[in-house]
């Protein structure tokens, strides 16, 4: 068998748009396109955000659901590419409006449908007057998934936030919005719970986690928050900038995905400092977490000398790579064998601050060669990646422990929400690393 030619084939902005809009509860995302573009998206959002009681195709009509609970579509075929999609789109909207309950409808053109040039906004507005409708004419071709997600967030903010200046927060507790989390983030439920918990320890409420199982109402109240926190910059920075520009809302950007104790401490203390709040309750919690991790790591270390020096590999966005790598290097003393960055700086463009921070971290620890090493050539003991990369490495009969950090998954169903963020995430990773290392 010859070598695989691609390191990873990732979803693009088309999927980013759908996942972004599907991240709003009780939203109807209607795909104007063929069923071939629907099945994956419907299956993925249903899997990530279970909302229907049963999976019986008989409950979801052939037209327009094709046996799946989410993301109905107009099942375009070759005739529609010639004559336009108006008839089917109109029929679908009428059916959905008469039979389904939703607060917001979003119509997204598939890559093929976008080439027809139908005025889908006009078609939708003719049919729906009482419910807000958003339309996306061009889903983008081969652009990154976070571009699509980010575009969805920005469109929602532009079209749904009520006009007028930002009201002052008159309540006793400070409020923040969290940006840059999506339902496509593997552990989004646990991530959201953890960030909310840690901020809550300091008396800070989370107002809205944009497009990540938020409600229509939470979005409309976003302006009431005091601060926006961008957790994953490629997904959330554009929305933060828009809110700053339009409503003078300040924001902070995590230097990387907030993975590990130090990153959590830095984030929470930074937020508390801005609000002049005492982080003592959080600090105590953090100390407890560190203490619990310590005893297990100490036992591992006594028996094996690990985790110091254990080789790891990470595959993800720059923000993810920086977040995970800094935790593994600085806290566990592990060494980077391959750091595989999905959003490398493009030719002739200035590297992102995250990329620069990652390079600095690796240079300071003499691990800069890990940036040049193909993830599929790694001989690391621990590989942190999506299920596809882990499976590809397994198919090569390599001896390692694969720990999933992003979608798609190998297949494990998480009933208990888990997280790699914050203090709970630090402990979770500690657990996975201890169990993933070979006791020599």
């Amino acid at each position: 068998m010859i070598s695989p030619y691609l390191t990873s084939i990732t979803p693009d902005s088309f999927s980013g748009l759908i996942f972004g809009f599907e991240g709003i509860k009780n939203t109807m995302v209607l795909l104007n396109g063929p069923t071939g573009c629907k099945f994956y998206h419907s299956a993925t959002v249903d899997n990530q955000t279970l909302r229907q009681m049963e999976f019986d195709p008989l409950n979801y009509p052939e037209l327009w659901y094709f046996g799946q609970p989410r993301v109905p579509c107009t099942y375009l075929d070759k005739r529609d590419y010639v004559y336009g999609s108006k008839d089917k789109l109109t029929e679908a909207i009428r059916f959905i409006e008469s039979n389904m309950n939703f607060d917001l409808m979003v119509i997204v053109n598939s890559p093929g449908a976008a080439l027809i040039g139908d005025d889908i906004r006009d078609i939708a507005m003719d049919e729906i007057q009482s419910t807000p409708v958003l339309t996306v004419e061009t889903p983008g071709y081969s652009r990154d998934i976070w571009d699509g997600y980010s575009a969805a967030c920005c469109q929602i903010l532009r079209e749904l936030l009520p006009a007028g200046p930002r009201p002052a927060n008159t309540g006793t507790r400070k409020k923040v919005n969290i940006l840059g989390m999506s339902i496509f983030h593997k552990y989004y439920q646990g991530d959201c719970q953890e960030l909310t918990r840690l901020l809550g320890l300091c008396g800070i409420d989370v107002s809205c986690i944009l497009c990540c199982e938020c409600t229509f109402e939470e979005i409309r109240n976003m302006k009431n928050a005091d601060l926006n926190i961008v957790v994953d910059s490629v997904y959330g920075l554009e929305a933060a900038r828009l809110l700053e520009e339009e409503y003078q809302m300040p924001y902070i950007v995590c230097p990387g995905f907030p993975v590990g104790f130090a990153a959590a401490e830095s984030l929470i203390c930074q937020v508390c400092s801005r609000f002049d709040l005492d982080p003592a309750a959080f600090v105590t919690e953090s100390e407890k977490s560190r203490a619990r991790a310590y005893i297990y790591l100490s036992r591992l270390n006594s028996l094996t000398g690990l985790p110091k020096g254990a080789k790891f590999a990470v595959h993800g966005t720059c923000s993810q790579c920086y977040g995970y790598a800094s935790f593994f290097i600085c806290y566990f003393g592990m060494t980077a064998d391959s750091i595989s960055v999905l959003d490398l700086p493009k030719d002739n463009s200035r590297p992102s601050p995250h990329y620069e921070a990652l390079c600095r971290l690796l240079e300071e620890t003499s691990m800069e060669d890990s940036l040049k090493k193909d993830i599929l050539s790694t001989d690391a003991e621990l590989v942190f990646a999506d299920g596809n990369i882990i499976a590809k490495l397994k198919a090569r009969h390599l001896d390692f422990s694969g720990i999933e950090i992003s979608m798609p998954t190998l297949g494990y169903t998480d009933v208990i929400p888990k997280t790699h963020l914050g203090l709970s995430g630090g402990l979770m990773l500690c657990e996975q690393i201890i169990n993933g290392l070979m006791f020599r």
Binding site: L58, N59, G84, I116, K392, G411
Partner: protein, 739 residues
């Protein structure tokens, strides 16, 4: 057969010229077909005495492929000239370019052109997108004319068309020259001569501005039909003569916009003019004339999926179907000509079963986990400017990589199809040891997922299988294993176990975890075994039987006890290995009988109702009957991949059977028939309070015990009478997880 494309700016009169040229050519006794490729569909009006004819696209829109007849879109006008209008959408909606491509695909399937000496394409003004360039693709027009007047925009359009031709041809010669349609504008002769000289083309003919056109138009006729001896008729007659005399053809050498402005507006001359060929006009004798009406072409439907054939909503897309199958040639590279999203969606559907299998059971399925897929990652720029350059560059890059793939298989997505990229052109890049194979699915433009599978199966077979391989004794091919089913490999191992015991070897698994050379040597096996005999299985059997004379064993892989007994006996008989087959059967029978006796104690008299997409149920019904159960009702749902429920069991002749089952009837039927067990593909508790609901696999395990294993499960469920208290918590979910 000669194929001529006549291009020019909209409104320049090319439809009038085309009709008149067709009429003139027909006067020389040639069978002429004129195809109008303008959405306004008036190209053939003068040939049809003013009658508007049904366009191909209107026909496709309103007809099912099953009803396609050439006579519905092919009409005959003046002098038996065949007339077709491609048609198109209303202005401002849809994609007219895509319409041209769709129309041409249908014409190809009818083989309409086969009955004519000359085909003349009358094409919309400018090469506005890939769709309108279809007639100048090499497989269509071999001779191209540009119609222009002396107006700048008309010449500008002609120059643009030359650019389009150059994109396809490079320096190949297909342009016969300029048809100069006079408008009597200022300095018109000068401009046309300057342009012709600058682009190195002859002025093939000058058509004067003449009232005869208006008079003919008024009579809804060509000038030839109006008065064959008029001056204007003689002009067209001369054009026809020159066309028949095989004019010299030239390469397309377009000017840049700046050069064009210099030449036309600033009246600078270009390179020296080319003189029109002086080839003698050959008179066409009357004896060449054949006025017999053309025979009606037959529609060549190819191999169509059920969705496409029945004109049903398409399930999935052909691109994905072809991608999923093609990766099973493990030593080739699959190049998806698509945006990243299309490749990703296919990659997910390919890898998901492999990932899950790895996670659940630690099994490694290399084709699924590590498919050799690469994508051209078509961008917005490619949608506007065409994606062929990117495709070509990617193929060249793959050819340079090491280790070298055994072949490159290119599969096209719908954006590629809509913009008119012709992936077949990449075949020219093949190396002697690395063929380039194409599967032109164009996303869902060719049909659903199943259609893509069929296209992949048939195209790979046609482009790879070698007919001249020596036969190998005691070998079989396995055809149509379901590659996304969880039990594909375990089922294969069961079959291979049976075959091994009979001394029979597997030659090629078509297409499942195999290699290029195994497929190439497909014809060496003496017998072919169908894994599934559903709609697709039957089509593949037909395909191999017709195209390669392949011999198939009648029954598919056996599911259930009796089926396995019969299958083993049949295979044993074919290869004269009866004794070995009987040994396998004997061991299976002893086990089956013991186990069925045990479940019968519990299941006897129980009522079974089935609601399923499965169209073959004998394996489970036989077991149920053996266990003494009663079959209450069989409800067969419409399934995109199969049709026609069938059974060989005389015992179920009186059982109520309902095909195309309506889901609304479920609860009523459960109340009426009161089954003890309700079997369906997805378990639902709705209406099933007093019975056990269980699932039936879409792709059951094969062998003696397929049905028995399920029956043992039911017996266990009855014995334990367990339901699970979790089912009572639905209200809690609603309370704590508002949606």
């Amino acid at each position: 057969m000669k194929e001529i494309a006549i291009y020019g700016k909209g409104g320049i009169g090319k439809s009038t010229l085309s009709a008149n040229i067709s009429a003139a050519l027909s006067m020389y006794g040639k069978k002429i077909l004129q195809i109008g490729c303008d959405p306004k569909h008036d190209s053939t009006r003068l040939l049809m005495s003013g009658k508007r004819i049904t366009t191909v696209l209107d026909y496709i829109k309103c007809s099912s492929p099953l009803d396609y007849k050439a006579s519905d879109i092919l009409f005959h006008g003046f002098n038996q000239i065949g007339c077709i209008e491609a048609g198109g959408p209303k202005p401002g909606v849809g994609c007219a370019g895509r319409g041209i491509i769709t129309a041409f695909e249908l014409l190809d399937k009818f083989h309409i052109k086969d009955n004519y000496d000359i085909v003349l394409y009358d094409v919309l003004g400018d090469v506005v997108c890939g769709g309108f360039a279809v007639p100048i693709r090499r497989e269509y027009a071999d001779t191209i004319f540009l119609v222009t007047s002396g107006e700048y925009m008309s010449i500008y359009a002609a120059n643009n068309i030359l650019r389009g031709i150059q994109n396809y041809d490079g320096d190949k010669c297909r342009v016969a020259g300029i048809l100069y349609n006079c408008r009597n504008v200022k300095h018109e002769d000068q401009r046309i001569h300057a342009f012709a000289s600058a682009v190195n083309l002859p002025i093939f003919a000058k058509i004067p501005r003449d009232d005869t056109f208006a008079r003919a138009e008024k009579k809804n006729s060509t000038v030839t039909e109006l008065d064959n001896n008029s001056t204007l008729s003689r002009v067209f007659s001369r054009i026809a003569e020159k066309i028949l005399a095989e004019p010299i053809l030239y390469p397309a050498c377009p000017l840049t916009d700046e050069e064009l402005e210099d030449v036309i507006l600033n009246e600078k001359t270009g390179t020296p003019s080319v003189s029109v060929s002086a080839a003698a006009v050959q008179a066409v004798s009357e004896t060449d004339t054949d006025r017999s009406p053309v025979s009606q072409p037959q529609y060549d439907s190819g191999y169509l999926s059920k969705n496409v054939l029945r004109d049903e909503p398409l399930h999935g897309c052909a691109f994905n179907g072809a991608m999923t199958m093609s990766i099973h040639l493990q030593d080739v590279v699959i190049l998806a000509h698509s945006p990243k999203s299309c490749t990703y969606l296919s990659y997910q559907s390919i890898s998901s079963s492999g990932r899950r299998r790895l996670f659940e059971r630690g099994t490694l399925l290399p084709s699924s986990l590590s498919p050799n897929i690469i994508s051209t990652d078509m961008s917005e720029d490619d949608m506007v400017f065409g994606g062929m350059e990117k495709l070509t560059d990617t193929v060249k890059a793959i050819l340079k990589q090491t280790p070298k793939p055994r072949a490159i298989v290119i599969i096209s997505s719908c954006p590629a199809g809509i913009i008119g990229d012709d992936i077949d052109m990449a075949k020219a890049l093949a190396k002697p040891d690395i063929p380039v194979i194409t599967v032109k699915t164009d996303g869902n433009l060719s049909g659903d997922y199943l259609q893509g599978m069929l296209m992949c199966y048939t195209e790979l077979a046609k482009q790879i299988i070698d007919l001249d391989v020596p036969p190998a004794s005691d070998t079989v091919n396995i055809v149509f294993e379901k590659v996304v089913a969880k039990n594909t490999e375990s089922n294969f191992e069961i079959i291979r176990g049976y075959l091994d015991k009979m001394g029979i070897r597997v030659n090629c698994r078509f297409l499942c975890n195999t290699y290029y050379d195994a497929l190439k040597g497909f014809c060496s096996a003496s017998l072919n075994l169908l894994a599934y005999k559903d709609y697709t299985g039957k089509i593949l059997k037909d395909f191999f039987t017709k195209e390669y004379g392949s011999v198939f064993y009648e029954d598919p892989f056996p599911v259930g006890f009796m089926e396995t007994v019969n299958w083993l006996r049949g295979i044993g008989k074919f290869f004269k290995k009866e004794e070995a087959a009987e040994k396998i059967i004997s061991a299976g029978r002893d086990d089956y009988e013991k186990r069925i006796a045990a479940v019968k104690k519990i299941l006897k008299g129980k009522k079974l109702m089935v609601i399923t997409y499965n169209h073959q149920l004998d394996w489970i019904l036989r077991t149920a009957l053996d266990a003494g159960m009663e079959i209450a009702k069989l409800c067969i749902l419409n399934f995109s991949q199969d049709e026609g429920f069938s059974s060989r069991l005389p015992e179920i002749a009186d059982v109520p059977l309902e095909e195309d089952y309506d889901r609304q009837k479920r609860i009523g039927d459960i109340q009426y028939y009161r089954p003890d067990i309700l079997l369906s593909n997805y378990e639902s508790s709705a209406g099933c309070e007093n019975c056990i609901a269980d699932t039936i696999p879409m792709c059951p395990d094969i062998g003696f015990f397929s049905g028995l294993i399920l029956a043992e499960r039911w017996a266990g469920l009855f014995n334990m009478n367990l339901e699970g208290a979790w089912k009572n918590d639905q209200s809690l979910f609603n309370k704590y997880y508002p949606r």
